[in-house]
Amino acid sequence: MKILVCISHVPDTTSKINFINGDTEFDTNGVQYVINPNDEFGLTRAIWFQEQQGANVTVVNIGGADTEPTLRKALAIGANDAIRVNATPTDGFYVAKQLAEVVKNGNYDLIICGKESLDYNGGMVPGMLAGLLNYNFVNSCIDIKVDGNTAKVTREIDGGKETVSASLPLVIGGQKGLVEEKDLRIPNMRGIMTARTKPLTNIEPTTASIASKAVKFEKPAPKSAVKLISSDNLDELINLLHNEAKVI
């Protein structure tokens, strides 16, 4: 089984979010980048398939040379090889079109994406990729097993979960649950050493039009201070929720 894990290179959750150039660009100054958490769950699940079922795991990212440390980290975690499509991603549709080319050239059986990236929260790449390839697609996946040519996939639905079967090739949008947080892999020294010599191929992007772009950013208005209510005066809390906030 050939698995492709699509990795997004995103600011760490604790990063300060600021904008520059008249609020038209994200300020990368001092920002620590990580593998998008939803992708990391998928990557760890892919490594499980590699260890248990002999899968080959390729990771791919669409990004400039500055994103290579993130791919090297994925290699250190255990991926066999990596591909970087040398382009600055503008929108999800553009990214999906680049990924579709990679999939067509690599004949992958299973393509694992995170259900959304934690920077733009677009949530569109996995579905668009499946749509462009006309592959089966399951979103919000919290479990996947593969037997021969068939995958059994569990997805979250509102108020519960649903298990489906789908034939390969398959694209999934994954999230926590594919593996538990405690099972996420941290690269060890040996992994980091071998990652240096694993293949990382750079390819040039295919021509694709821009479907959308972020033209301006805003930060939320500063929040007014919390109103503290004494625990002896819960009637006041109810009064405020009813008359001021009007939510009860």
Binding site: G123, D158, E180, E181, K227, L234
Partner: protein, 322 residues
């Protein structure tokens, strides 16, 4: 060139988000001097849509669609958009709508903006405001394609009544066998409980509650508020509560009118997931808990005393105001 909305139903009844979406679409349609068409699936009673400004309904009735299939639903929405020559297609932000949205975008070769939180700020070029960076910022997205697909964030626009005269039409798009390639094996769903996705109020507990045996008081509070219960990540990691209740950045997002957090310190990942809720009440024994910085109302003290007392007082309030 009517606007098209997918008005989502559950068990033959419209979800509340469908009415919010209709309200939003009507406002956009008015500014463009056009109408709103809704496409519905296996819903026989569509007249409610006229209260929120929908002008025309395309009713799809097909037993094969009784189970959700993202591909089939996306396919019929694409065909409805083509039939109506709709250049703007609007969807809700439920799990199912967000699942099918990118497939619709590919089908219509349309740019897609999710998490949309307001009316378009500009029509030409077409620009909308959406939330990004896990609710820590907004961005104005410009969609360059001729056809646009938008997913409206829950609770961002509200339901606005706007009576219209509704025409109904049966719509029978041809669906492909390939639309049903994914087979449902089993479904696990709690019955009779308010889900986090549908709830107007969510009551959430953290490690401060000390153990799963103490969730009874939280459920009572939730019950009097008509709320869904939720929990922080450590609580689900410890197995005190099921994963489906975990809210936060890697769990479920929450965008309710009222979010009550009990014994949750307010880690940045938790806040990211719940920050688009309108009103946040925090009950915590630690006055330094970071959650108080983003809360609207706070009570410092022992949850084991406060929660039962608050439940009792809310019961009295509800009895007096019903």
């Amino acid at each position: 060139m009517s606007l098209l909305i997918y008005a989502e139903s559950s068990e033959g009844k419209f979800k509340k988000v469908a009415f919010e979406l209709a309200s939003y679409a009507k406002k956009v349609a008015e500014s463009l001097g056009t109408t709103v068409t809704a496409v519905t699936v296996n819903n026989n009673n569509v007249s409610d849509l006229s209260k929120y400004g929908v002008d025309k309904v395309l009713k799809v009735t097909n037993d094969k669609l009784s189970n959700f299939s993202a591909k089939a639903y996306a396919d019929l929405i694409v065909k409805a958009a083509q039939k109506e020559n709709s250049k703007i297609v609007l969807l809700s932000s439920t799990t199912d709508s967000l699942y099918l949205a990118p497939l619709v975008a590919v089908g219509l070769d349309a740019g897609f903006a999710s998490n949309v939180i307001g009316l378009p700020v500009n029509m030409s070029p077409f620009q909308v405001k959406r939330s990004a960076f896990s609710n820590k910022a907004f961005n104005i997205t410009e969609i360059e394609t001729d056809t646009k697909v938008l997913a409206l964030a829950k609770n961002s626009f509200g339901i606005v009544e706007n009576q219209s005269s509704l025409s109904e039409e049966n719509f029978e798009p041809t669906l492909n066998d390939a639309d049903f390639n994914i087979k449902i094996e089993s479904v696990e769903k709690g019955s009779g409980k308010v889900t986090i996705a549908d709830a107007d109020v969510v009551v959430s507990g953290g490690r401060g509650l000390k153990g799963p045996e103490n969730w009874g008081m939280l459920e009572e509070l939730a019950s009097v508020l008509g709320a869904a219960t939720a929990c922080s990540k450590p609580v689900s990691d410890l197995g005190w509560r099921p994963h489906s209740e975990h809210v936060g950045q890697t769990g479920k997002p929450v965008a309710t009118n009222l979010y009550v957090a009990v014994g949750i310190s307010g880690a940045i990942q938790h806040i990211a997931g719940i920050n688009s809720s309108k009103v946040k009440v925090v009950i915590n024994s630690d006055p330094e808990a970071p959650f108080f910085k983003v809360a609207d109302y706070g009570v410092v003290g022992d949850a084991f005393e406060i929660v039962p007392k608050l439940t009792q007082k809310l019961k009295e309030f509800k009895a007096a105001n019903s």
